[in-house]
């Protein structure tokens, strides 16, 4: 079998992975693929489904990649398979196949109790389910979850986030019975109790009762008790969706599922099954890693390969209700003669168990609750010798678990089946940092839990990542910041003499200028500081390609009076400046010569404008939507907050530019989640998002804190910004800073919310100093003849304007004459300026 028509039924995670894997192996497209999907949206990340309640959007969960030669039929479920005619039927028509792959997944099991069909009873499987839960939860107070497993606890957290008081009912005597043992379950329960989620263990739900309005109102339990529940989520396990196969007469597994052998082929040689619907040698697997493994096997077989199912890796690591839980290998110690080593610390709420072979030499499995930092190394060591003494491995920081001790065959990334040998080969092939290893091997690109191991493997291979700023300083920006701060150094010459060498360069000088400015060392053009500044900071304007500058006055929050708008128009007209509205809700005036800058500022400053710092690695704008003042959907005063934030942080110098926005409701018209710090209004306050950016590598900001008062919000942003300024690398935006931080967002939260490093008072004080010492840089230049002297065209001919700056007109405005052909060795890089007016209607002016 090496080509023809291929039908895939199902576009879940595994179905999509199968198509990706096949396309990678079949670049000629000898298989013409049709995917029949039941849901109206393409494949999304069901593992991260709950992130939907943290504000993660549908598009961020999307997993679908379009491929040439693959037809995706959304909302068109298969209804029957005719094996004799090799045809799949849908409501729309028939599809003939040469090969058929079943990827129908599973469905939630709902126990057969009275009332399971009542309004207000939900399952937790699809984005539509979650949207329905969210809509129904509005205005309700109490909810319950049937099932205390992995999905049940996620659902409980979702209800909690939706503001419902929540009960969890679990038939087994502990939470997460599949993954953790009794002691681990008990530790987990302490965390769950603290969150105010009530657990009922070892009891069954006997009935779901309606209230007077016919909607669900209560659960009756097997111990005779009753609990109130206006909303119920059933998360009591899953069952394979095998009805199509059953109807088509294909053999099934002993407990359901489409029976397949180790090649994932069903009883029909043209039909295969992957993921949760497949019973591989009789067993169904409900995790994504074994599902992906089946997808790879079938993709390989369809192009003539000989892959077989490698056995299920049931290892799991997750963060549930803020608690790390991990389980791997023989977690329950079912191997004959095995030994347990356990560690329990009720004070720090850490529980860990290792299951060892009877000779205590081989790691068989384990359970971790409360701290799972040792998980990646431990999981990779299963079946092999222990990488360190058991107690060292179980120490809460996982200090003894070093990936450097792993054998080459150990699987480092189970999501993508990458071994240590693969990673070492990539490093030997020239990958010098984690990002390169990820790109080369795909390790760490799914759940990300193995990323710390990739770093350890780089270390073990002797790859040293230099943090030296440039040839003049051996330290990073962060270390330089500390040196300057702690030693109170205020000049570059002293810093380079005491802590560096040479005369500096265009890399270290602006970095030091920015550090000095962040520490509040007077005007950026005072004394020696002036010589450190990049030309933009030196002229307080933005250099353009022809040697002219652009000028951006601050328009806080994008709010401007008609009078000020007229002044900008008059200035642009009088100095013949090209005028454009920016993405940050302000106005950029282009084509100013250096000697014109003070004259332009004079007019603007007299009208009440100040520098917008468009030229600086500094706060740019705080964009806003119009908010509840005008908008019928708005719930808070987004413009007022944006103005306040922009005025508070104006002039704050940082390792890179800083952008912000405030949206007045969840519709998010201000695009706050694409900003370094974005704020979205809620009914009761503000949600803070951090680490977003547009640009070359767009990234949505992550939810950091919810329903904050304005004061609490500002305190958090103050600390976030100062901590970023102190510890980020050169030209590292907040997104990269958080990504590179050990512990990521959680660590950031512990530092600036819980004050784990005892820094908060200092951070608050630093921001207070910034706010009180701010003054307008343009006005300061206008008031100082020494500084004004720099703004001349030629030192010996100040009255002669630069003759090289000339303009032509385009669409009614001045634009640079493009008569500077590039010289030198750089070819044009294939750059071709495309005409854009051909055949287009002219804009009427």
């Amino acid at each position: 079998m090496s080509g023809g028509d291929l039908i895939v039924i199902g576009n879940g995670m595994v179905g999509q992975r199968f198509v990706d894997a096949l396309r990678a192996r079949d670049p000629q497209g000898s298989w013409r693929v049709t995917v029949l999907a039941e849901e109206g949206r393409p494949a999304y990340d069901r593992v991260r489904l709950s992130a939907y309640f943290d504000g993660v959007s549908e598009s961020e969960l999307n997993l679908h990649t379009p491929h040439d030669g693959v037809r995706l039929r959304l909302g068109e479920p298969a209804t029957a398979i005719d094996r004799d005619r090799q045809v799949v039927t849908t409501a729309v028509g028939e599809y003939r196949y040469d090969a058929l792959v079943l990827a129908t997944g599973s469905y939630p099991f709902v126990p057969p109790v009275a009332g399971a069909e009542l309004p207000g009873v939900f399952v937790y499987r699809t984005l539509d389910d979650l949207a329905a839960i969210r809509a129904y939860a509005r205005g309700r107070r109490v909810g319950a979850v049937i099932g205390g497993g992995l999905l049940g606890l996620e659902a409980a957290n979702a209800l909690r986030l939706l503001g419902l008081s929540t009960d969890v009912v679990e038939f087994a005597p502990r939470l997460m019975p599949v993954q953790v043992d009794q002691a681990g379950g008990a530790m987990l329960r302490r965390y769950v109790d603290d969150l105010g989620v009530r657990t009922h263990l070892g009891v069954a739900t006997t009935a779901i009762r309606p209230g007077a309005d016919g909607r669900v109102a209560a659960l009756e339990l097997s111990d005779g008790s009753t609990i109130d529940a206006e909303l119920v989520v059933v998360a009591a396990g899953i069952r394979p969706r095998d009805q199509l196969a059953r109807d088509a007469g294909l053999p099934l597994g002993p407990r359901g599922g489409v029976l397949v052998d180790a090649t994932c082929r069903t009883g029909d040689e043209r039909i295969w099954a992957v993921g949760e619907c497949a019973a591989v040698d009789g067993t169904c697997h409900g995790l994504v890693a074994p599902g992906y493994a089946t997808a790879e096997v079938v993709a390989d077989r369809l192009v003539g390969g000989a892959a077989t199912f490698p056995g299920a890796d049931t290892a799991t690591k997750l963060k549930l209700l803020g608690v790390d839980v991990a389980s791997f290998g023989d977690a329950h110690g079912t191997t004959e003669g095995c030994l347990d080593v356990t560690f329990t610390d009720p004070a720090t709420r850490v529980y860990a168990k290792l299951v060892l072979s009877d000779d205590a030499h081989t790691l068989l499995g384990g359970v971790l609750v409360g701290d799972a930092s040792a998980y990646p190394t431990l999981r990779a060591s299963v079946g092999g010798p222990l990488p360190a003494a058991p107690l060292a491995l179980l120490a809460p920081d996982g200090g003894g678990a070093d990936a450097g001790a792993l054998p080459a065959a150990a699987q480092v990334c189970s999501c993508n089946a990458v071994t240590r040998g693969d990673v070492d080969a990539a490093i030997a092939g020239g990958c010098a940092d984690v990002a390169a290893v990820k790109a080369c091997t795909r390790a760490g690109t799914s759940c990300g839990s193995c990323v710390p191991m990739l770093k350890q493997l780089l270390d073990a291979a002797g790859v040293v990542q230099s943090s030296a700023l440039c040839e003049h300083f051996d330290v990073s920006r962060r270390e330089l910041f500390e040196i300057v701060r702690v030693r109170g150094i205020r000049t570059f010459s002293r810093l380079v003499a005491e802590h560096g060498r040479g005369r500096g360069c265009d890399i270290c000088k602006p970095v030091v200028a920015s550090i000095l400015a962040s520490l509040g060392s007077g005007h950026v053009l005072d004394g020696e500081q002036a010589s450190l500044q990049d030309t933009n900071d030196h002229f307080l304007a933005n250099l353009q390609r022809d040697g002219s500058y652009s000028v951006v006055p601050r328009i806080p929050g994008g709010e401007i009076t008609p009078e000020k708008l007229i002044v900008i128009g008059e200035v642009a007209r009088d100095f013949q400046l090209y005028t454009k509205i920016t993405g940050g809700q302000r106005i950029d005036l282009f084509g100013a010569r250096v000697e014109q800058l003070p004259q332009i500022w004079r007019r603007l400053v007299d009208a009440g404008f100040e520098s917008g710092h468009a030229y600086g690695k500094a706060l740019r704008t705080v964009k806003s939507c119009v908010g509840e003042t005008w908008c019928r959907y708005g719930v808070q005063d987004s413009v007022g907050l944006a103005v306040a934030l922009e005025l508070r942080y104006r002039g704050l110098r940082a390792p890179h530019k800083l952008k912000s926005a405030v949206s007045g409701c969840a519709r998010e018209c201000a695009e706050a989640r694409s900003k370094d710090f974005g704020i979205i209004a809620t009914e009761t306050g503000w949600n803070l998002y951090v680490g977003g950016n547009g640009g070359f590598r767009p990234r949505h900001a992550d939810l950091f804190a919810t329903d904050l008062s304005t004061d609490a919000l500002i305190t958090l942003i103050d600390r976030f910004l100062i901590y970023y300024i102190r510890t980020a690398d050169r030209l590292q935006r907040t997104a990269g800073w958080i990504e590179a931080m050990d512990g990521g967002l959680d660590h950031l939260r512990s530092v600036i919310v819980d004050d784990s490093l005892g820094l908060c008072a200092d951070l608050d004080e630093a921001m207070a100093r910034h706010v009180s010492s701010y003054s307008d840089e343009w006005r300061d230049v206008l008031n100082d003849p020494d500084r004004l002297r720099r703004y001349t065209s030629f030192v010996n001919a100040p009255d002669v304007p630069d003759p090289s700056i000339t303009f032509t007109r385009e669409r009614g405005q001045p634009v640079p004459v493009r008569d500077h052909p590039p010289t030198g060795s750089e070819p044009t890089n294939g750059h071709r300026r495309q005409p854009v007016t051909l055949g287009l209607p002219e804009v009427r002016r």
């Binding site: 265009d506 000088k509 002036a530 390609r545 500077h820 590039p822």
Partner: protein
């Protein structure tokens, strides 16, 4: 073969007018010159950035690379040796350099036309 046509010295400005480690532009015999005052002395090169064609080199950041006094173009940061005019990042690219001296507190420039 380099032929150098030597012109006369032109007085440009008081030396105090040049800030340490920063450049200025000057107009000498109709040509735009970038003048720098560094710890290694005075330097004069063409103001025109040969890569972009814009007249901006006087606004670049002054520094050193391996002991060589340098200026970096403010547009795309190519670094030039202030003594020779050679670009240290792009082989074959260079800017013309000119003679500069300080006499009685006055900066004087003499153009060189190399061809």
């Amino acid at each position: 073969m380099t032929q150098t046509l030597t012109l006369t010295w032109t007085t440009v400005c008081l030396v105090d007018r040049l800030e340490p480690d920063r450049g200025v532009a000057a107009l000498v015999d109709g040509a735009q010159i970038a003048l720098f005052r560094t710890a290694d002395g005075l330097f004069a090169i063409d103001n025109r950035d040969p890569v972009s064609g814009a007249y901006v080199l006087s606004r670049g950041i002054v520094g050193s690379r391996g002991g060589v006094p340098t200026v970096a173009s403010p547009l795309h940061k190519q670094v030039y040796d202030l003594r020779s005019g050679h670009c240290l990042d792009l082989p074959g690219v260079a800017v013309a350099r000119h003679d500069v001296r300080c006499r009685n507190g006055l900066v004087e420039v003499r153009l060189r036309q190399e061809g």
